[in-house]
């Protein structure tokens, strides 16, 4: 108990001292997670929209596949991407392994199904009358799609926020593809795992506190947008 209390107090002091190492780790985490969320949203939102809005053969099976991908463990994704970007594999010449780009690729695979499935859910919740009203007022397919997208915007933003919350807290992909290089690919979660291995708890607890505060903030925003969706 004493260990926890001492570590906690020291961790708080470390955070407020604006320690450069802590700031660097937090920055790398936010940067990598932000970029992967951006690209996953760029692909996942239109994908989810097209699946939800369109009617085509195999739609149900595609949704089942996306839902299944939600359960993909991060280590499996890490292993999968590793097999493509390791020195001796087909993309080895690109020197991606143990870079931030490698983490971003893995994280995109992790959250793309989250963004797509939550976008599908957000679009599916939109009242059918919006589509009918837009059509009867003379809107073409693109204009009708814009109406649906606009009405579902809070749900879509919630999907993006949920995806960011998932990547910021993941450890498997960052560890396997990033390599936990100090100041370069060391994220909050990989740093915490390393500090735990070393038996140094202060930095780990400090990062844990920051991660929790960030998660709280993300959930707060997520809740706000979900509330707007229900309203």
């Amino acid at each position: 108990m004493e260990l926890l209390t001492d570590s906690f107090i020291s961790a708080i002091l470390l955070i407020f001292s604006l320690d450069p190492e802590v700031l660097s780790i937090v920055w790398v985490s936010l940067k990598v997670s932000g970029i992967s969320t951006f690209f996953a949203s760029l692909m996942g939102v239109p994908l989810g929209f097209l699946i939800a809005y369109g009617s085509f053969k195999g739609k149900r099976i595609l949704i089942i596949c996306l839902n299944t991908m939600l359960a993909l463990p991060t280590v499996v994704i890490g292993l999968f991407v590793y097999s493509f970007i390791s020195r001796r594999s087909i993309l080895g010449s690109l020197d991606l392994l143990y870079t931030q780009k490698a983490i971003v690729i893995g994280q995109i695979i992790l959250i793309l199904p989250i963004v797509a499935t939550l976008t599908i859910a957000a679009i599916s919740r939109i009242d059918e009358r919006y589509r009918k009203t837009a059509m009867t007022l003379g809107a073409n397919r693109r204009q009708t799609a814009c109406v649906i997208f606009r009405e579902a915007r809070f749900g879509i933003v919630a999907a993006v926020i949920a995806a960011f919350g998932r990547v910021i807290a993941e450890v498997g992909i960052s560890m396997m593809l990033g390599g936990n290089a100090k100041g370069f690919t060391r994220t909050m979660t990989t740093a915490m795992a390393l500090e735990y291995d070393k038996g140094e708890f202060i930095l780990a607890v400090a990062l844990g506190i920051i991660l929790l505060v960030l998660s709280f903030g993300i959930n707060l925003i997520f809740n706000f947008f979900q509330g707007r969706t229900r309203a």
Partner: protein
């Protein structure tokens, strides 16, 4: 004739919900469509509004056969507007709602403003121009939906039970507006209703629909 429907059927699964050998609608008239729940009234309005294709049969609009291809239908839909029994307003202000149909028709902003003002005035909703659409009452929503439809100057207005959820005051407002736009703008109107007094006070012709079959008076 504005519309001629010939041997129209519509099926949901194996159930035939509409079976009309012949139906003719004249331009500039008001038609009432009566019938019990599930008689096929809304389905018929959807077909007349080019929102739903019949299973079999032909539709002639201005003596031209209608082909149910999306690109072709879009032009027809710009002439025929349908108002739902429970109309839904887009998120945003009343102004934005009424503006929607005008904007997608490429009408300049200044002209849009004038039309919106006139149309909201016609339905008695001028004071609500900047109100949030989702905060309106049922009666106000119905009137804004009517204004949104009228703003695009349709040739035909299809109203699915336009007064079903309204109090007496709002019912009278909607009925008066329909009568006024028919007289002044010569808009052809078809509305479904359960109220006989509306039929006698508003409609020039009445259709009865029962189990998808039509009878005329």
């Amino acid at each position: 004739m504005l519309y001629v429907l010939s041997k129209i059927t519509r099926k949901y699964g194996s159930r035939t919900v509409l079976d009309i050998p012949l139906m003719e609608i004249e331009q500039g008239k008001i038609y009432a469509l009566l019938g019990p729940n599930g008689a096929g009234k809304t389905t018929l309005l959807n077909i007349l509004g080019f929102l739903e294709a019949p299973a079999t049969g032909d539709i002639f609009y201005h003596s031209t056969p209608v082909s149910f291809f999306e690109s072709y239908l879009q032009n027809l839909r710009r002439e025929v507007v349908m108002i739902d029994q429970h109309p839904i307003l887009f998120t945003g202000t009343v102004y934005k709602n009424v503006e929607f149909g005008l904007k997608i028709r490429g009408i300049p902003k200044k002209k849009r403003g004038i039309i919106i003002e006139e149309t909201l005035d016609l339905v008695g909703m001028s004071d609500f121009v900047q109100a949030q659409a989702h905060r309106l009452s049922g009666g106000e929503t119905q009137r804004v939906a009517l204004a949104r439809a009228l703003a695009v100057s349709p040739e035909v207005l299809l109203c699915d039970e336009p007064t079903s959820n309204l109090d007496v005051e709002n019912q009278a407002a909607v009925i008066n507006t329909l009568k006024q736009i028919n007289e002044q703008r010569k808009i052809t109107i078809m509305f479904t209703t359960h109220y006989m007094y509306q039929v006698s006070s508003l409609a020039h012709h009445t259709f009865f629909l029962d189990h998808g079959k039509l009878a005329t008076t």
